[in-house]
Every structure is written in structure tokens, then in C-alpha cells.
């Protein structure tokens, strides 16, 4: 299986160095929870791995292939951004057929949560419905690695368990890197937890370490 290897990521915004020599690796079957305070560069890191923003320095390799851009990554990495990204003039079923293999497209279409939305355009859905359809789309999409930015944000609590189950099931065939401030849900599904602190990634072994790193208060 082709391992995702991310190394030497450096990103500066003007004079502020946000990411300083970040290292992450991910394999099929892994769900990596990426945590960190606001402004520590979690989303920036995901976008750099995906290829949508440039870094001052980066090395991203999938298997033997060094990633050079979005076109190269189109069948390897998919990314769910924080905000809604579906074009508002296209039906959900059309988007599903574009993103997923035939088998996975049929699976989503048969899902009870998605089925009522299939013939609707994105603009006809509520914010939560749109987010739910985007999450399903990205999780099931044709890729080896999936980067997910705040999947639990804006989604009704009743659906959060469905999303977690879905990620767990799909992680049999692919690797996930997920970031969300709803850290309890991340802890529930992650096989490995990383925290971004002072521009670098540190591996976290227990919830107590999150307190030590200043990510959650001692009372949590």
C-alpha cells in the first residue's frame, strides 16, 4: 500500500512562521486526528498536503510518487474544506457520480440520509444537509487518502455517530487525516492523535497529554 509521507513542511504568513518543519505519515487503515488551538495551522497543513496552497518548503510523497500538484493528486487525495464547496447549480446525484466509483456511488445513493437529497441542487439544501452530503461525498470518493477539515461542525448531533461509523468503515481501504475542535469525537475514532504546537506536530498518547499541551482545560 502506498504510504502518505509528508515532511519538511514550512509555511510563513508575512513574518509569522506558522508551520516549522512538520512531519506526518499516514497509511491505509489509519485515522489520524489532528488537533491544535485556533490559528496553529491545521487547515493550512491539510491544504498544503492536498496541494491547493503553496508552502515555503514541502515534501509530499504517496507510495513512490512525489506529489507535484492537484492534477497528480486527483485520484490519490481528496479534501473536505471547512466551508461548503459544492456548486449550487448541480444536482447532488451528478456530483456523486463525478466523485465516486460506480460501486461507491450506488452505496451513497442508497443511504437513507442522502437519498432524499439526490435530485436536489445544492442551493435547495439547508446548510446542515449540504454539509452532510459533502461529508458522505468526500468519505466515499475515489482516493487513497482523505483529508477532512471540521466534519462535525454544523452537523446535527444525531448524525455524528453515522459520520464516525462511515469513516471507520472506509478506513479499511484508505487513510484519513481529520481535524476538528470537537476533540471527543476525534478521540473516539482516531487510531493516532497528533497535536500542532509551536509549528510542529507532536504525537499524543492520552487525553491527559492534551491538557499538558494546553489544548484542553484541566476540568475537561
Amino acid at each position: 500500500m502506498s504510504k502518505l509521507h509528508v515532511d519538511s513542511v514550512i509555511k510563513n504568513f508575512d513574518t509569522k512562521q506558522v508551520l516549522t518543519d512538520v512531519f506526518i505519515s499516514c497509511q491505509k487503515g489509519e485515522i489520524i486526528g489532528l488537533l491544535g488551538r485556533n490559528g496553529t495551522g491545521k487547515s493550512t497543513l491539510l491544504k498544503i498536503i492536498f496541494g491547493s496552497i503553496s508552502a515555503d518548503r514541502k515534501f509530499v510523497k504517496i507510495g513512490d510518487k512525489i506529489s507535484t500538484g492537484l492534477f497528480d493528486n486527483r485520484k490519490l487525495i481528496k479534501y473536505l474544506p471547512q466551508d461548503n464547496f459544492l456548486p449550487n447549480h448541480v444536482k447532488i446525484k451528478t456530483v456523486i457520480e463525478l466523485f465516486c466509483d460506480k460501486k461507491d456511488a450506488e452505496l451513497i445513493k442508497k443511504n437513507g440520509l442522502i437519498m432524499p437529497m439526490l435530485n436536489k441542487k445544492s442551493k435547495q439544501l439547508s446548510g446542515g444537509e449540504r454539509r452532510l452530503s459533502e461529508i458522505f461525498l468526500i468519505i466515499y470518493s475515489n482516493s487513497k487518502y482523505t483529508l477532512i477539515d471540521e466534519p462535525f461542525n454544523g452537523v446535527a448531533p444525531v448524525y455524528k455517530d453515522d459520520i464516525k461509523d462511515l469513516i471507520k468503515k472506509q478506513s479499511i481501504d484508505k487513510g484519513f487525516i481529520i481535524t476538528d475542535h470537537d476533540y471527543r469525537n476525534i478521540l473516539d475514532i482516531a487510531t493516532r492523535i497528533l497535536i500542532i504546537h509551536d509549528g510542529g506536530t507532536k504525537e499524543v498518547k492520552s487525553k491527559n497529554e492534551l491538557i499538558d499541551w494546553g489544548y484542553i482545560p484541566e476540568t475537561a
Partner: protein, 96 residues
């Protein structure tokens, strides 16, 4: 095939407003000069295509770029697509 479908979805959003405004400019040209010119519509189409790309995708729906990024189309490639398709459609108006 998926890339072509993605390009069609992308350009679909630009074609109607660009055609309508180019047609209106053609009518304004007709009212001023007393002669209906497809050349005016063609030239307007080329420039308005780029202008609508800027307003629709850069200003109003910039997050939609992620839809196309996920399908392998970069921002630069989408700008090139807009330019080429607008040029081709504009030239058709100019030539006929």
C-alpha cells in the same frame, strides 16, 4: 471524461450571464449605430467571460474552487479554460 464533465459544470455558470450581457451590449450598439453587429457581441463575450469568472468564482463563490481542485483542476487551469472557451465562442460570433 470526469474532467470534461467538471469543466462543463464550471463553465455552465458563466455562459448564460455572459451571453445575456453580450447580447445586451449588441443591442445597445444597434441602438447607437443603427446596425446590428455580431462582432460586437463576440468581442464583448471574450472580455465578459473573464469578468464573470472573476465575479462569480473569485468574489462570490471562491470556496467552490475546492470542488474543482478535488477533481484535479487548479485555479490557473480554470482561468485558462475560461479564456480559451470564451475566446472560441467569441470568435464564432465574430466569424459568422
Amino acid at each position: 471524461m470526469r474532467i470534461i464533465k467538471a469543466i462543463l459544470i464550471f463553465y455552465q455558470k458563466l455562459i448564460l450571464p455572459t451571453l445575456v450581457l453580450s447580447g445586451l451590449l449588441g443591442l445597445i450598439g444597434f441602438a447607437i449605430a443603427g446596425e446590428f453587429s455580431l462582432k460586437t457581441i463576440g468581442i464583448s463575450y471574450i472580455f465578459l467571460g473573464l469578468l464573470f469568472h472573476y465575479f462569480i468564482y473569485e468574489i462570490r463563490n471562491s470556496n467552490e474552487y475546492y470542488f474543482y481542485y478535488n477533481l484535479g483542476l487548479s485555479r490557473l487551469s480554470l482561468w485558462i479554460i475560461t479564456f480559451v472557451l470564451s475566446l472560441v465562442i467569441g470568435l464564432i460570433f465574430i466569424i459568422i
